[in-house]
Each structure stands twice: as C-alpha cells, then as structure tokens.
C-alpha cells in the first residue's frame, strides 16, 4: 500500500523532530524520508535553517549599550555622568566585565528611515533627548513638538506641489524597494495602519493598479527624497509580488509607487 503524498506541514514537523512526540509514527516517517519529493522539501527546510543560522545579530552598538547602562544607573538612583559606564568595579563586588566604549548617553539610532540622497532634512521623532534625571534615558518619544509640526506642514505643501502630478523617478527611487523590503512586518505607518483610513487614503491618492483595500504587509515613517512620508508595503494577490507606495503624512499626495517582485 502506497503512502499518501507528503504534505509540507507534515514534513516540517518531521524536520523539527516532532516525530519523537508521537505525532508521526516511525513507519510513516521512514516513508517520508524515502520519497524523493519529500527529500527535496526536507533539504529546503535545512537550507532555511542554514540561512537563519547565518543571520546572528552583530554586537550591540556602543551608544545603545551606554544608554542601557545609564538607564540602570538612573533606576538605581545613581548619578549619570559620562564615563561611568566604563568605570571599573570596586574590589569585592564584581570583576571581569570588559568596559565598553561609552557613547553619548541617549544617542539612539535615527528613527525615520531616510530614502535617497537628500535625507539630511529628516524631521522625525527626537531620539533620546530626555535629560539624565529622566526615568528612562534615551527612550524614544513619539511626541512631535508643535514647531516641528508647523515646519512639517510647510514641507508638506512643497512636497504636495512637487508631486501632485504623480510619482517621479529621482535619486530616491532605487533605494525605495530596498527600504520596502526592510519594512515588511514593521507596523509604523501611523494612522495608516488602520485599514479603513488606509483605504480612504489610497482612494484619495489613487496609485495605479493598487486596490485601496489591499492588505498591509508593512509600513513605516520615511523621508523620501527629502520629504517626510509614509511607506506602505501592500499585498497584491499575486504570489511574491508586493506593491510599494509612499504618500505624504497627510495623505494628500502620492510620492512614489513601486513594487517588489513580479
């Protein structure tokens, strides 16, 4: 009697060692291993594990480590001053911790993701501007000061005028797809994370070939060619093909359209 055609989920469970839990019997497991198609899937799963094993994260940036150390000092009510992060431990309390190069306390990575060469005018969340006496040094704040918001409106007006006629290819475009790939799974699209608001926005700016109700695969705040925007990565209903849209934060203008795959 021939075994039924193996299913991917079943092979993945075999690959993960679930056989040992009794979810698969030994005879079936052997049949799966002997099947050429199954072996190909098992090899694909092994290649996937190899890809994952190769992506170990780099060491924590010194500035981030310094920020964490400062937060712990503040939490313990100790003064937070430069250099303490690398101060040697007093005798009898602890030894052996290699001092890290202390970065500026509270200096976090830039938050808005710049796309294109003119990204210096990034206007986004100020990172780590809380004073040393604050309870969480360096923790990002999402409040945008009124003055910045006003400046943003001016920039938006310019951006709207520039792009009212539709997206244009410029120096930012080649970086768009790369940024979009990195945005998959990110949920930082602000109000456009909400499906109904996003649909209304997409109806308003009407990017060609994109359904307003397309599912959101990822999104983030960006600076596109010097202008603040919201990058949306959207499902298209086609395997391996995702739509990429950048709109201004008020969704009054379409700044760019692109796609991943296809």
């Amino acid at each position: 009697m021939s075994s039924p055609r193996p299913h991917l989920d079943e092979l993945a469970e075999l690959d993960a060692g679930l056989l040992d839990t009794g979810l698969l019997d030994a005879e079936r497991a052997q049949a799966l291993r002997d099947d050429p198609a199954s072996r190909a899937v098992l090899e694909a799963l092994a290649a996937t594990r190899a890809d994952l094993a190769a992506m170990a994260a780099p060491p924590v940036p010194a500035a981030v480590a310094a920020r964490w150390a400062a937060a712990l000092r503040v939490e313990q009510g100790r003064p937070d001053h430069a250099g303490e992060a690398s101060r040697p431990m007093p005798a009898g309390s602890a030894t052996g911790a290699a001092p890290r190069e202390a970065g500026p306390t509270g200096a976090g990575p830039a938050d808005a993701q710049p796309i294109g060469a003119r990204s210096a005018d990034t206007v986004r969340r100020p990172a780590g501007r809380r004073g040393p006496a604050g309870p969480r040094p360096g923790m990002r704040t999402w409040r945008r000061p009124a003055a910045v918001a006003a400046a943003l409106l001016v920039v938006l007006a310019a951006a709207t005028a520039l792009h009212r006629a539709g997206p244009s290819a410029d120096d930012a475009q080649p970086a768009l797809v790369a940024q979009a790939r990195r945005s998959i799974g990110v949920r930082d699209a602000g109000a456009l994370t909400d499906g109904s608001r996003r649909a209304a926005c997409l109806r308003a700016v009407a990017p060609a070939g994109i359904t307003p109700t397309a599912p959101l695969v990822g999104g983030r705040q960006v600076v596109f060619a010097g202008h603040p925007g919201v990058l949306l990565v959207l499902g298209t209903g086609r395997r391996g093909v995702l739509a990429v849209v950048v709109v201004d934060p008020g969704c009054t203008a379409l700044l760019a359209v692109d796609r991943i795959g296809g």
């Binding site: 940036p61 030894t95 395997r239």
Partner: protein, 181 residues
C-alpha cells in the same frame, strides 16, 4: 609561587550581590548579556530602535523585580525571558497580526515561476510573534529547544511545532521551495 586568578563572580552571585545592596552588581550582570539580549530583540522586532527600547525596558524591569528570581532557570534565561515577553507584548500592541496574503503561504508555485526571494530578515518579520520568537531563539540564536521551552514556559513540542510552521513558511518566502512536479 602560585598566582591566583581573580575570582569572577557568576551570574547568580552577581544577582545575589545586587539583592544584597551592591549598587554595581546588576550593571555588570546586565552588561554580560547585552549582546545576547540585543540579538534576540533585534531579530524579533526587526528594528534597532525598537530593539533598543525593548531591551532597556526589560533590563529596568529585571532590576526592579530581581527579588522575584527564584532560581528555577538560569539568570541568563530569566533575563532573556523578560526581553522576549517584552518583545511579544510590543508586537501584539503595535500590530495585530496581519498575515501575508494567501499567495505567500508556503506551497508549491503552480506556475513553476521563479519565486521572489525575500531577505532573510524581511521574511522573518512576516511570521506571527510566537513563531518568530521560537525561530529566533532556536535557529538564529542557537538555543537548545528544551531551554527555549523553559524560557517560553511552554512544552518542548510546542516550540518544535512553532519552529516547524515558521520554517515551512520561511522556506517558501526565501525561495527554497519550488515546484518540482
């Protein structure tokens, strides 16, 4: 003449020293695990700012509740559990899971077309939080499944199952699974 190496306190000793009032012990303990915690948070959340915030919150939480450590797991596992729980909370808070459209599910391409490969980190971010955390800990960080089960406080079979589902989805997204008849 015998030269004695300076004694280096282990994690449990540092935590005990912290509980006893040593103001520097917890900082030393935490710093030992900075890279590991960073790796878990960065790969789970996918963004360095979010990862930095998550680890900072977790470290402060661990500092505050050091007295709650009972020694059932290693200090390292305890710290990592706090980070992982914080990451999962963030993912749930920030984004109710929006699954990829059905075409991204791991199944053979009926047209036999070349599958569009996503970068590994991008593909990882498409997984639901529980699967993602299991994959990050087991496949990226290389933790033993049993230790991950202890960290996540779930049965070993659950960890394996989450890894299995996650890997099968990733295999398709990464282009390793193709139509082969």
């Amino acid at each position: 003449m015998t030269r004695l190496a300076p004694e280096v306190p282990d994690d449990a000793q540092l935590l005990a020293a912290h509980r006893a009032g040593d103001p520097h012990a917890f900082g030393v303990l935490a710093e030992r695990h900075f890279d590991r915690l960073w790796g878990v948070a960065l790969r789970t959340l996918g963004h360095p700012d979010d990862a930095a915030d998550a680890v900072q919150e977790a470290l402060v939480a661990a500092l505050r509740r050091a007295d709650s450590y009972r020694g059932e797991a290693s200090v390292s596992t305890w710290l990592c559990r706090i980070v992982v729980n914080g990451c999962i909370d963030r993912l749930r808070r920030a984004r109710p899971t929006v699954p990829l459209p059905d075409h991204a599910q791991p199944r053979p391409d009926p047209a036999g077309a070349v599958t569009t490969r996503l970068a590994v980190d991008a593909a990882l971010l498409t997984l639901p939080p529980e699967q993602r955390v299991a994959i990050v800990l087991v496949d990226v960080q290389g933790w033993p499944v049993a230790e991950v089960a202890q960290l996540l406080e779930v049965p070993v079979g659950t960890v394996k199952s989450r890894c299995a589902r996650g890997r099968s989805r990733l295999a398709a997204l990464l282009g390793h699974l193709r139509e082969d008849g």
